[in-house]
Amino acid sequence: MEYTVDGKTIPADEEGYITNLSDWSPELAQVIAESEEIEMDDERWEVVNFLREYYEEYQIAPAVRVLIKAIKKKMGPEKGNNKYMYELFPYGPAKQACKIAGLPKPTGCV
């Protein structure tokens, strides 16, 4: 699989996770989100940016349970819960949001 941003080709694996983490840009995130049929708004950007920060610090994409707990701690229980997160990313907050954030698939996801 691959994405095209400003005429540039960005390689990705068969599930749509980009191959080189350094290829990521906010513009690419928009393109990945479109292919996932997700419209990026402030709430979704908040999660995507959070994931990128988490990866920067710990070098892993967190499991969904860990992500929700961390969001709860940082942004409060009205955002750190399953319902809110699955409304933003219906096919799985960790899986889908990680893809948009340009991170590898969370460890433990199959």
């Binding site: 710990y58 892993i60 967190p62 499991a63 349970r65 860990v66 433990g108």
Partner: protein, 135 residues
């Protein structure tokens, strides 16, 4: 699940010369989803996994040492390190990176995850497990 077992992951290899250390960490992260009672042990060359200031850009390997600091998020809050193994290698606890976890039951107070114990205590820890996974 009520049937919680005690799991100990025993790490005895240095971080980058073989794949053992990284594999162990990945198994720990995956296994954390099963909500068992998980602890990690570091002895022999395994203590080298926790040293500070690892920088792997020059060898083209992923630096997974920061990932140990995420273990608290996965409810893995006990990292036993064997004192004799440190001493035999000329290391002290100060050579290890600081790894903290937030205690949910204590108003998210930050507490250290690393616990340096003697060889005899390590043998006791091993003897109280249900399952030991070696790397």
């Amino acid at each position: 699940m009520s049937d919680v077992k005690k799991f100990l992951y025993v790490n005895r290899k240095a971080p980058y010369g073989t794949i053992y250390a990284l594999e162990s960490l990945e198994v720990v992260l995956i296994g954390a989803a099963f909500e068992q009672d998980v602890a990690l042990a570091f002895l022999d060359d395994g203590v080298f996994q926790l040293t500070k200031s690892q920088e792997t850009d020059g060898i083209g390997c992923k630096n997974f040492s920061p990932t140990f600091r995420a273990l608290g998020d996965y409810d893995v809050t006990r990292l036993y390190v064997e004192r004799e193994s440190l001493e035999e290698r000329g290391l002290t606890e100060d050579d290890l990176q600081e790894i903290m976890y937030e205690d949910e039951d204590d108003d998210w107070a930050e507490k250290p995850s690393i616990c340096v114990i003697s060889r005899a205590e390590m043998a006791d820890v091993m003897a109280e497990q249900d399952v030991i996974l070696s790397f």
